[in-house]
Amino acid sequence: MTTQADINREIDDLRGSGGPQPRRDYPPYRSSVLRHPTRDLRMVDPEGVELWAPCFGAADIDDAEADLTVQRSGEPLGERIVVSGRVLDGDGRPVRHQLVEIWQANASGRYWHQRDQHPAPLDPNFIGAGRCLTDGDGVYTFQTIKPGAYPWRNHDNAWRPAHIHFSLFGTDFTQRLVTQMYFPGDPLFELDPIYQSITDAKAREMLVASYDHGLTTPEHRLGYRWDIVLSGTHRTPLDTEEPLR
């Protein structure tokens, strides 16, 4: 079986090779081997529907979906946290009233998912999925608990650093992003082929939240801030909010 030392060597060999986005072809992450396109992406000017993003509104979501600690009858186990930040487009403009979705493991590193066979306890009071809309300044906020690290089968003794999955939309279709938010100072960063599939160190660090004492509430929860910059929109700022028709 492949050891962590083997994976570390593979990670080292590919360091800095891929630019600021993850390498699609990244063999240290074994599941990528048969699932990445081998041809270059075809550059195309977006047109028609690609210049717009789907719209979501208050009717799509309950306010309570932004608080992952109140979805069941009791309080979940673990360290209560708040995660908040702004969603910005590539020109620094806030992405307003747009959908943000998250999912995560519980405090012991177990997902509420039948395919997660990690023998850590499920928490009957924590499912680990949430949604919200950004506000008029592009700000999102989730109340949750800090997820645990967990083992996976990529190689022998493989562990994922604690993370929260984030799904984001911009103002046009091309800005769609699914990524993962990490916690500062995690000792597993160097060992994780998913995090390291972004071979540029500065780009990787964009996925690490900051502890923010200003977001921490006394005797209740710790605060983490994570701002997310999407790629640039292909519409000009002068475009109206309505498509041409």
Binding site: P22, Y29, R39, P54, D91, Y111, A129, R204, S231, P243
Partner: protein, 180 residues
């Protein structure tokens, strides 16, 4: 300005992303409903059972929907957006309407985003309707590559397989503002 890198959707996205009727942009019983479906396959031709496909499209008149309500569908409003996970065989399907051209004279297409465990970042592609209108993207591709972007018409819908890798690999797209 540098933008945030993507990360794989992983194996547990079913916890956070699918929602009820996500693949029903219209009810399957809608008189104009078409089934848009196909398989997501890997480099060995095996079905990918943990992929997620998102669909974004104009309505039959070519209008880009601006209506909310995709996540809690009312069964009447066409929002133009949907989400379908693959089954154990890598098969996905949507019930939807056939898109019209957003700009007249252009060949209509569905805009598609592909996510999967093992894909380090999402992929973009287009599903074109069969037809003969000129198209800037299709016309610049070799015939075998072009064919990967065109759906096959069926009696009750459209078939479109997504080949992540290897023979018949689907053409995946990037856009100018994503250039490094």
């Amino acid at each position: 300005m540098t933008f945030a890198p993507g990360q794989t959707v992983g194996p547990f996205f079913h916890l956070g992303l699918p929602f009820e009727a996500g693949n029903l942009l219209v009810p399957a019983s809608h008189p104009d409903a078409v089934r848009l479906h196909g398989r997501v396959v890997d480099g060995e031709g095996a079905g990918v059972p943990d992929a997620l496909i998102e669909l974004w499209q104009a309505d039959p008149s070519g209008r880009v929907p601006r209506e909310t309500g995709s996540i809690r569908r009312d069964g009447f409003t066409f929002t133009g957006w949907g989400r379908a996970q693959t089954d154990g065989d890598g098969h996905y399907w949507f019930a939807t309407l056939t898109p019209g051209p957003v700009e007249s004279g252009r060949r209509p297409f569905f805009a598609v985003t592909v996510f999967a465990r093992g894909l380090t970042d999402r992929l973009f592609t287009r599903i074109y309707l069969p037809g003969d209108e000129p198209d800037g993207l299709l016309d610049g591709l070799e015939p075998d590559r072009r064919a990967t972007l065109i759906a096959t018409r069926e009696p009750r819908g459209l078939l479109f397989d997504i080949h992540l890798q290897g023979e018949g690999e689907t053409v995946f797209l990037s856009y100018p503002r994503q250039a490094r």
